[in-house]
Symmetry: C2
Subunit: 153 residues, 2 copies
């Protein structure tokens, strides 16, 4: 069976094991000669979604994610809410959504069909990655950490 | 020229491009069939040095660093200030120190010689990795970030 091109996406602001577990799982879908491409959310996309900018600028997040062994290529997202544009450029066989990514799969697949695109969308299962794997939890931990320990040293 | 076994070391608490630049530079010393092994500081070692524990536990830091393409293996540091022990177990040809790592190279090399170990110690140069590459600076940025934006969401 020939390898598949898999697309994963996210913010990847403070890289942690939850991100790695998600990307490893996405990479498994690709097969041996497949490919995992990761779309990195733009700073302004994060700002709109989260109400605050990321800690790390997009290009830094992109380079770090591309430095992971399971990732073949990481690219910056497009400045549009129309996800069909980047998908039609990157032509993945499968879009692998993390278990906690808020995306309307049906709406996405309908949009693809309307454009005669054959890309499938799958939602990955939650895997245990030994705790501390939600970005929100990590942020809370960082804040508690500084509240307890004062300014950084 | 046969590849060399290179040892790098650090805390790698919130992974960033400065870490990646350091490890990429260390990997270059290894040559094509060489090997890069990374020693991850124990939580208690960080606590002693920094006066506060890390955000991420050692095993999580280890797994994330080992997930980087340039890293062959990441291992936890030993619970001792005698660095000759882990070096004598891992048998690297070269220890690659980051430009900002506070280590007394002469004292280390003297200790190696006394134990008839041939490991060399080199200090890598500072490379431009597009800013935001000191952990202290990143922590400050995270704190400012939360001061501006309140609790995480």
């Amino acid at each position: 069976m020939p390898g598949k091109r898999i697309l994963a996406a996210g913010k990847f602001d403070i890289l942690h094991l939850g991100h790695l577990a998600y990307l490893e799982q996405a990479r498994e879908l690709a097969g041996v000669d497949g490919q995992l491409i990761v779309v990195i959310a733009l700073d302004k996309t994060i700002e709109i979604e989260r109400g605050a900018p990321p800690v790390f600028p997009a290009e830094q997040r992109r380079r770090l994610v591309e430095g992971l062994e399971v990732v073949d290529k990481a690219v910056l997202g497009y400045d549009t809410t129309d996800h069909t544009k980047i998908v039609s450029d990157l032509k993945p066989d499968i879009i692998a959504l993390g278990y906690d990514q808020q995306t309307d799969i049906e709406a996405l697949e309908t949009a693809f069909r309307e454009k005669n695109m054959t890309t499938k969308v799958v939602r990955l299962e939650k895997r245990d990655a030994d705790g501390l794997c939600s970005s929100t939890l990590i942020r809370k931990r960082i804040i508690d950490f500084y509240n307890e320990n004062g300014r950084p040293r």
